[in-house]
């Protein structure tokens, strides 16, 4: 009985309006972005320049794309540690397949995305059919794929086609193409999460998997779908890196899995699953990107960058928890 709230006991928890409770993390993360931006523009003239802002937004697409996939996985109650290695492998494979030839672009993109999806499929099958924990499956995949990538190449290989390379610098009006691309992905992803049956099931599974199963939801299928999506988005991130670097560089994607998880958590998505969303993740991505940018502009050593990033994540999550009580 203690867990079934009497109306009286319930009231005390209502004192924070549900809307605020639900959006509390968004307020925090976007508020922090504002604070960091104001601080930066006051302390350095180099921050609020068109070129710098352009760069911050453009860079966000890299972490943003992989973090979207990670958000789906985490909402479903899982985690994907293999995305960094998928990015690495994707950058190599796409560079090798494309090999500087414009007519190979289509094939390279298709093959790379298919590879990402396939890895996601294998992750998903191992998690659902063999009932191995996502952490373990994707930790294994992280290591295997990383090893695989280094057998493919230990130094930069392949080449992007010139047209593909240009994508990185393209603008639509004043805005970088990649930023608009990320925004579009976030909006589509949000629609999928909030307005489609697939999205509803993801929240349901992350919230209470057993209930979802007993409600007749194809839990395994949805979960596999989530990992496939995450793998494909990681591969897409690898393609973006190719568009930036022009070659397949084996150091691509180092630490991207933890960066992505950090962004997702900063965005207010619960590591336990069942709640969160992409608008928050976008905020997390922008906050991380912005913090790095500001620290670079202010000439802070990269050691301090990591330190500050750690403080930001623990601090932000501590703030969310306060909002919830």
């Amino acid at each position: 009985m203690s867990a079934i709230l009497s109306p009286g006991a319930g009231h005390s928890r209502f004192s924070v309006p549900p809307a605020l409770r639900r959006h509390g993390s968004l307020i925090v993360v976007y508020g922090l972005i504002l604070v960091v931006a104001i601080y930066a523009s006051l302390s350095s003239p180099n921050f609020l320049t068109e070129r710098n802002i352009f760069n911050v937004l453009r860079t966000a697409a890299f972490l943003g794309t992989v973090a979207i996939g990670q958000t789906f996985v985490i909402i479903s109650g899982g985690i994907d540690l293999s995305v960094g290695s998928i990015i690495k492998l994707a950058a190599l494979i796409s560079a090798i397949v494309m090999n500087g030839e414009p007519e190979n672009i289509g094939l390279a993109v298709a093959a790379t995305l298919a590879m990402g999806a396939l890895i996601g499929l294998i992750n998903g099958l191992l998690i659902t059919k063999l009932r191995i924990q996502p952490f373990i499956v994707t930790l294994g995949a992280y290591s295997i794929l990383r090893g695989l990538a280094y057998t493919v190449a230990t130094r930069p290989v392949g080449r992007a086609a010139p047209g593909f390379l240009r994508l990185y610098d393209l603008k639509i009006g004043p805005a970088p193409l990649l930023a608009i691309f990320l925004l579009a992905l976030v909006l589509i992803g949000t629609f999928v999460l909030r307005r489609t049956a697939f999205g509803r099931y993801i929240y349901a599974i992350g919230g209470a998997e057993q209930v979802a199963r007993l409600s007749g939801i194809r839990v395994d299928l949805i979960k596999i779908g989530v990992y496939v999506l995450c793998g494909a988005l990681a591969a897409l991130t690898g393609l973006l890196y190719l568009a930036r670097a022009g070659i397949g560089d084996p150091v691509t994607g180092e630490g991207a899995e933890l960066q992505a998880i950090t962004a997702v958590i900063l965005g207010g998505t619960s590591l336990f699953g069942g709640e969160g969303g992409l608008i928050g993740t976008l905020g997390g991505v922008l906050l991380l990107g912005l913090t790095n940018n500001v620290l670079v502009i202010l000439n802070v050593s990269s050691w301090y960058q990591e330190l500050i990033q750690g403080l930001v994540i623990v601090g932000a999550v501590a703030l969310y928890k306060q909002k919830r009580r």
Partner: protein, 508 residues
């Protein structure tokens, strides 16, 4: 043993925001007695107990315990004063042993400051002995039955020298013999002078174990009397203000064609072949002890546990549900026993809870159509009279009764022809119970076939058109309402088939 009150809570009031949870409630327990505290959910029992436990502070009023006056106290002071609370959701560390749990945070130390495991084991054994339970102090909590875990909790309270133990719905997680054992323990504790406050929805128990009863309704005391001076009907009336006869609606519909037939069904958890037929428009009660295999039968029918052998016919057509998904598509629905872990998404909105099993009805090309979904929810709210502030609210904020209605609404949207209710009114207050009974009966009248699993014999006898009794994972008897009685069901459920011969003596 005297009748002097060991505990008096005087004129306790408590408000949360604008809601007055308790108004001038006075509650008094005589030493060495069992005092039942009853009332619907939301009546204020939990709030009152939490004030006693020191979890909440009263706005006004005072507590007199063992002659000392307190304006209020902290959880720590409550414990030190000798008040032990056994919550329904037990507070034990599953990976630690019984002894470690009993002394958690108060481990006896030897003179080197190291935990004295031998003394801990010895003291635990003595405590368990005193409770009359055979339980090894070195057993791991997680390996024990819920009943044994409860005993460990009681031992823990005793180890803190509690002279007043509050048990919050202890029977909700027990059945049959386990409950008898708990009662034996309670009686021996009372004989030692310990006072018990016993909270329960189940009137049978209250009449069996309690000396006195206090009824709360809407945050006020509706009555406080020795149990001998009050009748069952009077007690219900005090709790809900409705006469007893209206509790169980009877059906007028003759039973129809077979809706669901199971023939020699076995699963991993149901080793003996089980067969049953469920007719359209009937409520078939499935009685038995906890662990007798009732839930396993439900899970087999619903495709939650894969069939090893046997067949299931739905309206004459063979189905072989390998997953709940296939069962749902065939027209089955199940409201599971453990609503919180199997029936409801506590953290999700009422909206997504209600339409979750039938999303295809409100989606087009996989996209949810909000207005259609909202219309569905409005209809469910109206038809089931679900009390909710907004469908966007998370389901955890609903009362037990309303939660159960949301589970029901979810399934009604799939237009099932068969619904399995596993303990439909567990954790549901009396008022909402009536509504759920009425809904079940209405569904049956519409031709839905209902299989109702229940440990509440009153519910089984009151609702069922036919009763099956299970014993040790076998269906041992089928009874008509005329043949059935509490005694006969208990006998069948505890001893199995042989008892059927001499069960006649149990009816009188």
């Amino acid at each position: 043993m005297t009748d002097a009150p060991i505990l008096e809570m005087l004129n306790i009031s408590k408000a949360f925001g604008g809601v007055q949870a308790l108004r001038e409630v006075s509650f008094s327990c005589a030493k060495g007695k069992v005092h039942a505290l009853v009332g619907e959910n939301g009546a204020g029992k939990s709030t009152l107990i939490k004030i006693l436990a020191g979890a909440y502070q009263a706005d006004s009023g005072e507590i007199v315990f063992k002659g000392r006056r307190y304006a209020g106290f902290s959880a720590r002071e409550a414990m030190a004063a000798g008040i032990g609370i056994i919550y329904q959701e037990l507070n034990l560390a599953p990976l630690m042993t019984v002894a470690e749990n009993i002394f958690l945070g108060r481990e006896p130390r030897n003179r080197f400051g190291v935990i004295d495991a031998r003394r801990m084991a010895k003291d635990s054994a003595e405590l368990l002995e005193r409770l009359g339970v055979r339980l090894s102090p070195s057993a791991r909590i997680g390996d024990l039955s819920v009943a044994s875990q409860q005993m460990a909790e009681i031992a823990k309270a005793l180890s803190q020298n509690a002279d007043l133990i509050v048990m919050d719905e202890p029977s909700a997680i027990l059945a049959g013999q386990e409950l008898d054992r708990l009662f034996t323990t309670i009686r021996s504790l009372v004989a030692e002078g310990v006072t018990i406050v016993y909270i329960s929805h189940r009137l049978n128990e209250i009449f069996e174990i309690a000396d006195d009863v206090t009824v709360l309704k809407d945050g006020r005391v509706a009555g406080a009397q020795p149990i001998g001076e009050v009748t069952r009907a009077r007690l219900i009336q005090m709790m809900v203000g409705r006469p007893f006869e209206e509790v169980f609606p009877r059906g007028a519909r003759p039973r129809g064609a077979p809706a669901l037939t199971a023939r020699n069904v076995t699963t991993e958890r149901l080793p003996h072949p089980a067969s049953l037929t469920l007719y359209e428009g009937e409520i078939l009660g499935l009685a038995g002890m906890v662990g007798a295999g009732r839930t396993e039968v439900a899970r087999a029918l619903f495709g939650a546990d894969g069939l090893r052998s046997g067949e299931i016919l739905l309206k004459g057509a063979r189905i072989r549900p390998r997953s709940p998904k296939e069962a749902v598509e065939a027209g089955l629905a199940m409201a599971p026993e453990d609503r919180k872990s199997e029936g409801l998404f506590l953290d999700q909105s009422i909206r997504s809870n209600i339409t979750l099993a039938s999303l295809d009805k409100v989606t087009r090309f996989g996209v949810i159509q909000r207005d259609k979904e909202t219309a569905t929810i409005e209809r469910a709210r109206r038809e089931l009279s679900i009390a909710m502030a907004s469908p966007e609210l998370e389901a955890q904020y609903l009362s037990g009764g309303n939660q159960q209605k949301v589970v029901l609404a979810k399934w009604l949207e799939t237009s099932p022809s068969v619904i399995i209710f596993d303990e439909p009114t567990r954790g549901v207050d009396v008022g909402a119970k009536f509504e759920i009974y009425a809904l079940m009966r209405e569904l049956a009248e519409r031709g839905v076939a209902i299989l109702m699993i229940s440990s509440d014999l009153i519910e089984i006898l009151g609702m069922s058109d036919r009763i099956l009794v299970m014993h040790e994972r076998k269906i041992v008897a089928e009874l008509t309402p005329d043949e059935a009685s509490e005694e006969r069901i208990i006998e069948l459920a505890t001893t199995g088939a042989q008892a059927e011969m001499n069960a006649q003596s149990g009816r009188a």
